[in-house]
Symmetry: C2
Subunit: 469 residues, 2 copies
């Protein structure tokens, strides 16, 4: 009988890289939520100029971890300090492998002393479910996987609805909804607010410096909550723009979070080898895809560590132990790459688009606003023909009138440097999410993360002053 | 109490044009079907190069008309000849107003002597439902409206599934599915075929000259039929590409059908005035939108007649009478515009796209593959600054590597002429489906409909030889 697990799938494909580079899973989808409510340009504009409503009910896994050892279990499998984790706080939770490579990240909420809710991509949920059994932890776990990518008219239910309201005008809506001034909620803290006749939990969040709240509750309340929010916005005289799934995934380009690092679980022995046998060939780690111009024989070249993503200040060094602690201690002093924003040269972007009007094999289509056609992207960043980084998540910002991407570069690369992004894959990939294409080069300017318009304007001359390295 | 009907909505908005130009309905959506299964470029390529599976179960109204007077009723309200309408045929059914303006069109199937199924956009279904009551016809009508545009995870059910398999490799799949050679089915004729253990009705259809079949049956059979088709394709060794909703709506650009004429029902007295009172303000005719650069005070300037759309050869002149017969007889000798394809100048398209990378108000975003952001589009076509036609349905064809649109031009405009399309609306529209923008001009070459690649290649020099008129 055929064995269906990740280890076997890697062997069958001749390696993890060919497995993932030839995945047939198709486009990475933000499911169920309408693609556009108005249009994606105005939906992007709303989070900068007025207020936006994100429906985050469908695109993330949810994991509920309860029980006597819930805190201990989570503290042991994440890099984060837990000493300050009171009931009214949330954390950006990051697990790494024993070798110190990032597995993924979740937002984690503490509902009770012994109950946590985690929200994020599958690699973190899968890893924690495995770890609970592997370490015989006294925890109960409930997993609510993300909604199907192509439900095709079938009904989709979740455990919780999840909304976020963001933007400079958002506070007026909160006050109207709450029926008076909101309690003061500090960044990444949680409190209870009123929405109509319901009491709901709210996380203070923020993108690009604008204030915002994330709220959640039982999925059956979703349409009541939605209607109440929309009415509160009307009553407050605020143009609250519902954000569809096309604009949604681009918000991170302005705020600087990389949603899609490759989980560092394809190599390593011990618990990692057991994990690869635990994972079926249907799981994200086996069925997902790597896309982009960077092709290495060594899957480890796609891994990142917490220092590279700017998560080192989360690390709970004072904890007795946690998975990856020793490895991180060794990585600490580098060399580590650093996270940056790449601003794509408009002329070069337009040259790529122009090939869609020529005979023959075109350059890879840049789909607006998000040409991120794989679950993990890795496009080569070159300086003087030598690879100095990778671009990991890309898209167009109408607010900035630019294609941007997030990624990592070698420590010695400086802001303002103009590098070269190689766009498109070097040979025919088996992925179905991209047409046959030829490679192209796009100049990119290194900019800070989060990307600030001010920075770009100050550096407006850099395209003229600099050639691609 | 407020009256909710189209007549009142027109009065409230100060006219039909402001009503429709400021509609808040949003993007015209092809609902429920996934946006992409692989990617829209390859999905377009498949109908030219291999085989494509269209899921047409959701974007059209269905109307079942039965009863002793079913044939007589339909013959009286469509322009088509009915004398040759045997059980094994389908027709492209076109109703017009008493004034001879097109209301819409449906594909009509005859299931029994006294039972017809009609499939298409809402204006034709709405009109027929009204007419049945208005004329006291002895018919039973069941209406299954198109699926909701944004079902938001709720279940969607239809009366029938409806699939189309098209492309040069399609016959291999039919034979495999059927379990042997298919009966010979002539164009727009219907016969029964086997799909696995089911007998289903199949309409011989065709796009761009490639053979194809449309099949339908009870919606509860949908997933069985889908799985059987996909397996038959694998068994036949054919790369059957599932087409998502982004690529789907562009197929008409190559085949030449205009899906979205404005129903000519906003003016006229008698039954038309009564119809406007019958239609609620929620119906397509009141809630839909007009988009594009052409703004006229007179809603009739957006109407088209059957001669202009190339439907004159359908007209059953020998029928004793039908709605619009007298008007059509007067229109017959013109002047009438004619249907053409506009091939958009790539340089000008790229200039419009380039404004998305500049500060300030951009030109209207061209969303790929279909920037058709209203239920009815009307972009001005100019020659020497004078309007000589309108562009009515646009999109990008990866097969042709061109933006194309379908529309009508004055009779004296010749193929190969280079005209000017005005892109974007002249002032701020109240529509939510477009961002604020400025107008731009795009040269368009007049090409035949259906658009043939050969023609373009023969005329390849015309961009260089001709300036925009």
């Amino acid at each position: 009988m055929a064995i269906s697990n990740l280890e076997q799938a890697i062997a069958d494909a001749g390696g993890a890289v060919p497995l993932l580079r030839n995945s047939k899973i198709g486009m990475y989808v933000y499911p169920v939520v309408a693609h556009e409510f108005s249009n994606w340009r105005d939906e992007q504009r709303a989070w900068r100029d007025s207020a936006v409503l994100f429906d985050q009910s469908h695109h993330m896994d949810e994991l509920i971890v309860e029980g006597p050892q819930a805190e201990e279990f989570l503290a042991f499998h994440g890099i984060n300090a837990f000493s300050n984790f009171s009931l009214n706080r949330a954390k950006h939770y990051v697990p790494v492998t024993p070798n110190g490579h990032v597995i993924g990240d979740h937002i984690i909420f503490r509902e009770r002393e012994d109950k946590f809710i985690l929200v994020g991509r599958a690699p973190t949920s899968n890893w924690l479910m495995f770890c609970a059994a592997y370490g015989k932890w006294n925890v109960r776990i409930r997993h609510d996987p993300r909604s199907p990518s192509r439900p095709d008219g079938e009904r989709v239910l979740r455990t919780h609805y999840r909304y976020q309201i963001q933007g400079p005008e958002a506070p007026k809506i909160f006050e109207k909804m709450h029926g008076g001034p909101l309690p003061e909620i500090k960044f990444f803290h949680v409190d209870w607010i009123n929405i109509g006749s319901k009491r709901v939990q709210a996380l203070r969040h923020g993108m690009s410096g604008a204030p915002g709240l994330e709220i959640w509750g039982p999925y059956e309340d979703k349409s009541y909550i939605h209607a109440t929010i929309m009415q509160a916005a009307r009553d407050a005289g605020v143009d609250l723009v519902q954000c569809g799934s096309r604009a949604y995934s681009t918000n991170t380009l302005e705020s600087g979070w990389i949603p899609s690092p490759l989980p560092g679980i394809y190599t390593g022995d011990g618990m990692l080898a057991e994990y690869r046998q635990w994972l079926s060939s249907e799981h994200y780690e086996a069925a997902g895809s790597i896309g982009g111009s960077f092709v290495s024989d060594n899957i480890e070249d796609y891994y990142v560590n917490p220092f590279e993503l700017g998560y080192d200040f989360y690390i709970g060094w004072k904890k007795d132990d946690f998975v990856g602690k020793d490895a991180l201690a060794k990585m600490k002093d580098g060399p580590n790459r650093k996270k940056v924003t790449f601003e794509w040269n408009p002329e070069d972007v337009l040259k790529v688009i122009a090939t869609a009007f020529e005979e023959g094999t075109p350059a890879k289509w840049i789909d607006f606003p998000q040409p991120n056609y794989a679950s993990t992207s890795a496009d080569m960043i070159l300086k003087d023909g030598k690879m100095v980084g990778m671009s990991m998540f890309n898209g167009y910002s109408f607010n900035e009138r630019r294609m941007l991407s997030l990624g990592v570069v070698d420590a010695d690369i400086q802001e303002e440097e103009v590098l070269t992004l190689v766009w498109g894959e070097p040979d025919d990939t088996g992925k179905t999410s991209t047409e046959r294409h030829r490679q192209a080069e796009i100049r990119v300017r290194v900019a800070p993360t989060p990307y600030a318009k001010e920075a770009r304007e100050n550096y407006a001359d850099s395209w003229r002053n600099k050639k691609a390295g």
